[in-house]
């Protein structure tokens, strides 16, 4: 993983301040604030129900926050959601597309929705780039899990957004498909995109993320680089108790969020 230059001036691709989201009486996000720099891959770690997807959903405009501010670059996402959505690409946790459309037609639909003019040859080039040229005439449901994720990522980035949000992008993938997707995510970063991803995988967080935040019960518990988190929390008694030898990122995660099973 290449690191962000310490000396380069950082501009913010995403700025979330004091975000609160509730579902009825249940508070899903409780005062989350986070900044993501340009060309940064930022990971949001948390157990099930911690508030990861709710945070992403609020940024995406799928749920209305109770309070807080969200800025995508220089756009206030709450005041101008359409302009904000034009500046971000989204891969949802479980994505599906119209079942009767072929992959080529799905790409054409989403290109149209983002105002990207594409010819059939242009679409086929895009599909070839993600090694799906043979699947262009298939339905989404006929693809493997890895192929579906590649289609989703292609569509999330079809309009070259400055910010890409990926909700558990490698969940359910085999190691080969996961590595391929990591490569794609890093290539996006290399061309200047900022990425916010949620994951349960500590390996993924360490492999691709510049910084990670741990969230639980709707609150951000800590934010740092993966190595920085280990260094910061290695002497925490809860982390020491979770560790079996040298402290790992997973030990920090378990130490901070507890070892109880979540739904």
């Amino acid at each position: 993983m290449s690191s962000i230059s310490e000396t380069a001036p950082q501009r913010l691709a995403l700025q979330v301040e004091n975000l609160h989201v509730s579902y009825g009486s249940k508070r899903a996000v409780d005062g989350v604030s986070l900044d993501i720099n340009e060309s940064e891959i930022f990971g949001l770690l948390g157990p099930n129900g911690a508030g990861k997807t709710s945070t992403l959903s609020a940024i995406e405009g799928l749920v209305k926050p109770d309070s807080g501010s969200i800025r995508i670059g220089d756009v206030d996402a709450r005041a101008n959601p359409a302009a904000a959505r034009a500046r971000m690409g989204v891969q949802l946790q479980s994505t599906s597309f119209q079942s009767n459309l072929t992959i080529r037609e799905i790409v054409r639909l989403y290109a149209g929705l983002y105002g990207v003019a594409l010819t059939r040859a242009g679409i086929d080039d895009l599909l070839a780039d993600v090694h799906l040229e043979e699947e262009a005439s298939k339905r989404f449901s006929q693809l493997s899990g890895g192929q579906q994720k590649r289609v989703s990522l292609l569509i999330a980035t079809i309009h070259s957004p400055p910010l890409v949000l990926l909700d558990e992008p490698t969940a359910g993938l085999d190691p080969q498909a996961r590595r391929q997707l990591w490569d794609r995510i890093e290539r996006l970063r290399d061309i200047g995109r900022s990425i916010l991803l949620t994951t349960h995988s500590m390996e993924e967080a360490q492999a691709v993320c510049h910084r990670v935040a741990v969230i639980d019960n709707g609150k951000l518990l800590t934010v740092d680089t993966p190595a920085g988190l280990i260094e910061k929390h290695k002497d925490d008694p809860r982390v020491r108790k979770a560790a079996h030898g040298q402290v790992t990122l997973e030990d920090v995660f378990i130490g901070l969020t507890g070892s109880d099973l979540r739904d």
Binding site: S94, S96, N100, D129, I158, I191
Partner: protein
């Protein structure tokens, strides 16, 4: 600028021009039309039942008691419109919601109303196509031939009638999240909504029942379509049926849009 080119190039300024409304609608309509044409079951549901009902009413011994050939055509159209709206439209919306199709569309710059308008426009187009087929069949089989103005008026009233049943369908699928429940309630509500309309012009079950039937959604639509096919006989009742149809459409669609659940959870 394409993804493929970008992935192999140096850091580049992202394209952040918001899409135009016409471009969004064009993309949605094209995709929805493709989906509609590929769905063989929906096509069968669109054309076969109204033709079967028209044939059944035309050949039944007591069919004439429901109001005659024009009323039979109106009833067949009413049934066809209700089938598309209450069974076809609701099932497709509920299924796509369950799959997460709407959530995926909602994270694009497309305004949420365009997602629904595109689907509704396609349904109205289906209903118009079904109406043309039924009217042609009526002309060929039953020699029910109308003036050009009556044909145009009928197709215009088909749009009003579509709004009634699409409004009912929208309310149904807007308020109920589960696919199975939407399908079950759709089937259960279909019969009273449409069957009542069959007796909007018949006193077989007495005048009270006829009055109730006449002002039910199905009855109002049947009266409206029957009036449109005979412009010379357009009466105060037809105007009232038009008003009732508009009210039904506004109330049901208002409920269905206001409380529409985009997510299945």
């Amino acid at each position: 600028m394409t993804f493929a080119i970008e992935m192999s190039s140096q850091p580049s300024a992202p394209s952040i021009n918001p899409p135009t409304l016409s471009g969004i609608l064009r993309a949605l309509l094209r995709a929805d039309l493709t989906v509609q044409l590929r769905n063989g079951r929906a096509l069968l549901l669109t054309f076969f039942p109204p033709l079967a009902v028209f044939y059944g009413l035309s050949t039944a011994k007591r069919g004439a008691q429901l109001g005659g050939a024009i009323v039979n055509v109106a009833l067949a159209l009413t049934l066809g419109i209700a089938l598309i709206a209450i069974l076809g439209y609701t099932a497709s919306v509920a299924r796509d919601r369950e799959l997460g199709v709407f959530q995926r569309l909602r994270v694009t710059p497309a305004p949420t109303w365009t997602i629904m308008v595109s689907r509704l426009a396609l349904q109205i187009l289906s209903m118009l196509a079904m109406s043309v087929v039924v009217l042609v069949a009526a002309a060929v089989v039953e020699n029910v031939r109308l003036d050009p103005a009556a044909y145009l008026l009928t197709l215009a009233m088909v749009i009003f009638s579509s709004a009634v049943f699409l409004g009912v369908g929208q309310a149904l699928v807007g308020l109920i999240k589960s696919v199975d429940t939407v399908n079950a309630v759709g089937r259960l509500s279909f019969l009273p909504l449409v069957a009542l309309g069959l007796f909007a012009h018949s006193t077989i079950f007495g005048t009270t029942f006829e009055t109730i039937a006449r002002w039910s959604p199905g009855g109002a639509v049947a009266t409206l379509l029957g009036g449109a096919m005979q412009p010379a006989a357009w009466s105060a009742d037809t105007w009232w049926a038009l008003l009732a149809s508009v009210l039904y459409a506004v109330v049901f669609a208002g409920i269905g849009i206001r409380w529409f659940q985009w997510s299945p959870r």
